[in-house]
């Protein structure tokens, strides 16, 4: 048990330290790197409590894809050296919004954790209580039986978000030459080569 708690404190100290660094570090790039470290240590904590599937998915989705996009955006926008004004200089407009959001999240956490602590039957699903099957099987059993509707709805919401994002950024560019494999393959010599007799002093107009 000692080793278990040593590892627990190791990962949680790293997680808390790096999440503090995310909001206090001056360079945006470093913030993103600390965010990645935070994700990884939280994933390790998940694995330590036996939720290996959740831990791995956290690594794959957040570290492998979402944080790469964060890093991408931060590097592309070249805001790496932007100074964050916390208490000095101009008043930041982000702080009130951030405070409201974080208060809401704190309240939600209080409700959920408090309810789970003091009301035993809040966890309605009985499948979760079987502890001898692995975490992945448990999740599958719950997700595709009790919560199939919510699962499907979440999928539809994500699909809509994806289509919306594509629609917002899509623009038809004119005057750009595009490669069409079908046209290239279906060319044959009879219509690809043309023999023209050029009259002198007139030249040929080649269509482009």
């Amino acid at each position: 048990m000692i080793v278990h708690s040593i590892f627990f404190y190791f990962f949680s100290v790293i997680a808390i330290f790096s999440s503090l660094m995310v909001i206090t570090s001056r360079s945006t790039i470093n913030s993103v790197f600390f965010l990645i470290l935070d994700f990884i240590s939280v994933g390790c904590l998940f694995i330590m409590v036996g939720a290996e599937f959740l831990g791995m998915i956290l690594l794959i989705v957040y570290v492998g894809a979402v944080a790469v996009l964060f890093l991408f955006v931060v590097m592309m926008l070249n805001v790496a050296e932007q100074k964050q004004s916390w208490f000095i200089g101009k008043k930041s407009t982000h702080i009130p919004t951030g405070l409201i959001v974080s208060t809401l999240i704190l309240l939600e956490l209080l409700v959920v954790v408090g309810g789970w602590k003091y009301k035993e039957d809040l966890m309605s699903s009985s499948t979760l209580l079987l502890s001898e099957i692995s975490n992945t099987h448990q999740l599958g059993l719950v997700m595709y039986t009790d919560y199939i509707l919510y699962f499907q709805l979440a999928g539809i919401v994500l699909l809509l978000a994806m289509i919306g994002a594509i629609l917002l950024t899509f623009r038809e560019r004119v005057g750009v030459k595009k490669q069409s494999y079908l046209n290239q393959i279906s060319r044959d010599p009879s219509n690809a080569v043309e023999l023209i007799e050029v009259k002198s002093n007139q030249g040929v107009k080649v269509d482009d």
């Binding site: 290996e52 791995m56 998915i57 890093l71 099957i133 975490n135 099987h137 490669q179």
Partner: protein, 335 residues
């Protein structure tokens, strides 16, 4: 406490016995790659140092160690040094779950395939950090290209893995291998094997998809500013990643450590040798493709990933699921 130290000692011992063969085989595989490349082009390849030139990579490594490490003045030093270390570490860490036989595996975890997938999706950080920290145009362009390419091809690799998992019913790598006792998945899932192979070429930045380091356009991509041992670490990490992808391919499709057929002369050959033979077979394909296929254009690469591989593997996933459901062949899970 003493007990834990003992366990720790045993684990360190095991890890060393895993890492040293991998590093040696990476060195050998670099030699094999150059050799095959040479033979395809009717050259001899490295054949001077040691027997058949086998020690060429060691000589190269020695040269890299004694070279000066140059850090550009305007680089972000911490990230610049961290990038090759991350690449190398991630490439080696993933080997912990690769089973060489039924019980010859460092960590037989329940979510082995997810672990492999997670580690290979982290591999993009080494490249993107190296490219950004160099603070120079070509490395940055190379890093951006590479990140986009690796993220895109991961999607189709993920769907191919789901295809295999549907047939197995477990995320454990040993279970995946044992499920192929009757029939290797390369036969029923052959199109997926082809797509997996091509995607793993793109995932490891191998030719014909080595656009991040396309020397004609980007000098050497994200490695432009690196020199000496730091460059060598990128290079070794890349080859360790290639070996890892080969191991993943052989576990998912070629039956891992299972013999070719369960008949007398074949099944007395020990399991790790079968695994190594399969990895070598896939690596030879990698090396041959490097030698014979010209480089893709960047937009063609993206088109191939998103418009051809992704829809095709999704359709094949639906087909596999329907087939398994209709013929009642879905894996029975004993809970």
């Amino acid at each position: 406490m003493i007990e834990y130290l003992e366990i720790l000692g045993q684990e360190v011992y095991k890890i060393i016995f895993l890492l040293v063969p991998i590093l040696v085989s990476v060195a050998m595989i670099v030699w094999l790659d150059r050799r095959v490349w040479g033979l395809v082009q009717k050259r001899k390849g490295p054949n001077v140092v040691g027997p058949f030139g086998l020690f060429q990579t060691l000589a190269d490594a020695l040269k890299y160690i004694f070279k000066e490490i140059i850090i550009p003045a305007s680089a972000n030093k911490v990230v610049f040094i961290l990038a090759p270390i991350i690449t190398m570490t991630l490439a080696l860490v993933a080997w912990a779950v690769i089973p060489m036989s039924e019980d010859l595996v460092l960590a037989n975890i329940n979510v082995g395939i997810l672990y492999l997938f997670a580690i290979s999706s982290l591999g993009v950080y080494g490249i993107i950090m190296g490219g950004w920290a160099s603070n120079s145009k070509y490395p940055f362009l190379g890093a951006i290209r590479s990140a986009a390419q690796m993220v895109s091809y991961e999607v189709s690799i993920g769907i191919i893995i789901i295809n295999v998992l549907l047939c197995v019913g477990s995320l454990n790598l040993n279970d995946i291998v044992i499920a192929q006792k009757e029939l290797w998945y390369v036969i029923p899932l052959f199109p997926m094997f082809v797509i997996f192979f091509i995607s793993s070429l793109a995932e490891t930045n191998r030719p014909p998809f080595d656009l991040p380091e396309a020397e004609a356009e980007l000098v050497a991509g994200y490695q432009t500013e690196y020199s000496g041992m730091m460059y060598a670490m990128f290079w070794l990490g890349e080859y360790a990643n290639i070996l890892l992808m080969c191991a993943m391919g052989s576990i998912l499709f070629l039956g891992g450590w299972l013999p070719l057929m369960d008949i007398y002369p074949l099944n007395i050959i020990p399991a790790p040798i079968w695994m190594i033979l399969k990895i070598l077979f896939l690596f030879l394909l990698f090396a041959l493709i490097k030698a014979i296929v010209p480089r893709y254009r960047y937009d063609q690469l993206m088109k191939l990933g998103w418009k051809i591989f992704l829809p095709f593997s999704l359709i094949y996933l639906v087909l596999t699921a329907s087939f398994l459901f209709y013929f009642d062949k879905l894996p029975k899970v004993n809970i």
